[in-house]
């Protein structure tokens, strides 16, 4: 049980001793009295992806109706530019890039939480209907109350939570099984989707156009205001998710095993649902539902990092990269600028098909 590596981490705060050497290289980072053990491969994967993200971000900041050079972008970011270049980079393009990164990370983590909790690679807030519920909540705020951004977040959060609770209760029958939950989620999601279509139809044309464009998931017109509020929410939620990542991994072993390890299963699960739904809802409120990133990111991350279970940090990084590149494709590669959600739906749907062909078939 105690190899050299794990005994060194005995000072790590929560629970010492029960670690099993998985044969993977581990990096131990100590800071004050807290020691964090990081999987070396995951760290390397995250660093490489961060580099790719940085390059993509510079590319995104360069491209537009007014082309800039990489040098101009970097110096503008460093604060060395004034006037038009500064306005373009920091004022117009940077909020969008930041939003793509922050929201992508949020979606990736949200998906990771649900897939880990339901032990199912197909569990996704979009498939299960939570994002449709957030959309309903937000639509009601837009169309009925004509509310502010914060009210929008509240509406989306409430809608998502209510849907989550409803789907969970409907699926509960001596425990919740992944596939039953997914089918019931699809049913609820279909119901909410047609409700949303009708809400849009009922609205007057101007509101309807805005709501429909937003409904496909778009980062158009994201301002610093939304990025800061949304980003702050996401940051807090990501911290909470990070804190619960250990019990989350332990619960992948099964509820009984986790309880034996001292995890308070029910409250941890409740907390994870709240954090997961809140992450999706925050993104939905700001940009509309950006589909499938939460489904795809954890799976790509798992394959890149070659971990046995779902891990949060790589999922966040992959999610950020996916969202940023999808938005780039939507804006600059497509013949006309499109909402980013359309790109992620098409790519992510294709991936889901592939997943069905391989994993789901084998498991069923």
């Amino acid at each position: 049980m105690s190899t050299g590596v794990s005994s060194r981490s005995a000072r790590a705060r929560p629970a010492p001793g029960e670690r099993v050497d998985s044969g993977r290289r581990v990096l131990t980072v100590r800071w004050w009295r807290v020691a964090v053990r990081l999987d070396l491969r995951s760290v390397v994967v995250c660093l490489v992806l961060a580099l790719v993200i940085a390059c993509t971000a510079v590319l995104a900041l360069m491209t537009g109706s007014y082309l800039l050079s990489p040098g101009q972008v970097v110096s503008a970011l460093a604060g060395g530019q004034t006037g038009l270049v500064n306005d373009i980079v920091v004022g117009w393009r940077l909020p969008r890039v930041t939003a793509a990164l922050v929201f992508g990370a949020a979606l990736g983590v949200s998906g990771a939480i649900f897939q880990s909790m339901l032990r199912n690679p197909l569990a996704d807030p979009a498939v299960i209907g939570f994002s449709e519920g957030s959309y309903t909540g937000a639509l009601v705020v837009i169309l009925v109350a004509n509310g502010t951004y914060l009210q929008l977040v509240g509406g989306a959060l409430l809608g998502g939570m209510a849907t989550a609770v409803a789907v969970y209760l409907f699926a509960f029958r001596r425990g919740v099984q992944g596939f039953r939950l997914i089918i019931i989620g699809i049913g609820v999601s279909t119901l909410l989707a047609s409700l949303n279509t009708w809400l849009i139809l009922k609205a007057d044309l101007k509101q309807a156009m805005a709501a429909a464009a937003w409904g496909t998931g778009s980062l158009n017109g994201v301002s610093w205001n939304q990025v800061t509020i949304g980003g702050a929410c996401v940051l807090v939620l990501l911290l909470l998710a990070g804190m619960s990542s250990r019990p989350m991994r332990q619960m992948e072993l099964g509820d009984d095993a986790a309880a034996a390890l001292g995890v308070r299963v029910t409250s941890v699960r409740l907390g994870l649902v709240v954090v997961g739904v809140a992450l999706t809802a925050t993104v939905t409120a700001a940009s509309g539902p950006i589909a499938f990133i939460s489904l795809v990111a954890p799976q790509i991350a798992r394959r890149l990092a070659r971990t046995a279970g779902i891990t949060l940090a790589p999922a966040a990084v992959v999610g950020a990269l996916l969202c940023l590149s999808a938005d780039y494709i939507a804006q600059h590669v497509a013949p006309t600028p499109l909402p980013v959600g359309i790109i992620t739906v098409v790519l992510g749907g294709g991936y889901l098909g592939w997943l069905l062909f391989t994993e789901a078939r084998r498991r069923l």
Partner: protein, 348 residues
């Protein structure tokens, strides 16, 4: 083989199967209900119109705003509801029989999405505007998606309901996204498709129905032709082969029928989900596992459900109205939930 032992007789099969007399009686009752609903559908609307005026409008070609509303608005709408209801009910029964999947529904399996994507391509990219032109696109879209979902959804052990539903959701999502992309780049298409996408019988003229009817007739004939083979296939493929059923031919004909019905219904009314899911289950619950009777009942109960939902949608928020597709979603989602909660739904 082991596969045989695993096959269930299907959901909704109850121990007592009613005799022929009760089945005929039930069908007559359903037909009477349908007739009553047809009359109600013409009479009920944002304004109540006296029965004498309705009669006057139908029999004489008298002028007047009420007569106009009935002849040009409510009567076509009722006929559209009747045609679409028959098509959806029957296509649902066919899909249920073909896939032996209790969760099968043309809407959930993405067939509507295929048809609606193809219609958007026709309207948005190719400038087709009348139903004669885009009908073929709807059929093609429905056919391609049906084949894709069947291909993804069937595993070596036969088809798995869950994988098939997920395959439908994913194909539907991709095509929905592509359709959105087309609509966003093409405002004319957005405008043309906006109300159609909600799934409604309102505002459809009879010009939309006539060209589709011959195809529905062909599909009806096909359904009757394959009903015996599908009956035998319910016991398992091996058993059906032993009884001399040509499996491949039956499947092809059934898929053609499903495509014509679901594609045609979508071309007329837009995507209306859950009717194809609910109706055959109810039919099966009433008559037991006899495909011909299930088909007959589904063809009658389909329009019963659709017209009831449509009338409800007109009454609930008077003088406004809820599109029938939204009403059927509200009725149908609980049914799907109940089906998914049942143990029999193949180990969900």
């Amino acid at each position: 083989m082991t596969a045989l032992a695993l096959r269930r007789d299907g959901p909704g099969t109850v121990g007592v199967v009613p005799g022929p007399r009760r089945r005929v009686l039930g069908l007559v009752v359903a037909l009477v209900a349908l007739a009553v609903l047809l009359v109600l559908s013409v009479m009920i609307g944002s304004t109540a119109i006296a029965p004498s005026v309705v009669w006057d409008a139908l029999v004489h070609s008298s002028a007047g705003i009420d007569q106009f509303a009935i002849r040009d608005y409510r009567l076509p709408r009722t006929i559209v509801g009747l045609a679409v209801g028959v098509a959806l009910g029957l296509s649902g029964a066919l899909i249920l029989a073909l896939t032996r999947n209790p969760l099968a529904d043309p809407g959930i399996l993405g067939v509507h999405a295929g048809a609606s994507f193809a219609v958007t391509v026709a309207v948005g990219l190719l400038g087709v505007s009348d139903v004669h032109g885009y009908l073929w696109f709807a059929f093609a879209g429905a056919l391609i998606v049906t084949l894709m979902v069947l291909a993804i959804g069937s595993t070596r052990q036969g088809s798995s309901p869950v994988v098939m539903v997920l395959a439908g959701v994913c194909v539907g999502a991709v095509l929905g996204g592509a359709r959105e992309a087309l609509q966003q780049t093409n405002p004319a298409a957005f405008d043309a498709m906006r109300s159609w996408n909600a799934g409604s019988t309102a505002g459809r003229s009879l010009d939309v129905v006539w060209p589709v009817l011959p195809f529905f007739a062909v599909a009806l004939v096909l359904a009757v032709a394959v009903s015996g083979s599908l009956n035998a296939m319910a016991l398992g493929d091996e058993m059906a082969v032993a009884q001399g059923v040509a499996l491949a031919r039956t499947r092809v004909l059934a898929i053609v029928a499903i495509t014509l019905l679901a594609g045609g219904a979508t071309a007329i009314a837009g995507p209306i989900a859950f009717v194809g899911l609910m109706v055959p289950h109810v039919a099966r619950w009433i008559v037991g596992p006899h495909q011909r009777w299930i088909f007959a009942y589904s063809a009658v109960l389909g329009p019963v459900l659709l017209l009831t939902s449509d009338i409800l949608g007109r009454l609930v928020i008077r003088p406004g109205e809820i599109p029938v597709g939204v009403v059927t979603a509200f009725v149908g989602a609980p049914v799907l939930i109940v089906l998914a909660r049942r143990k029999k739904a193949s180990g969900l």
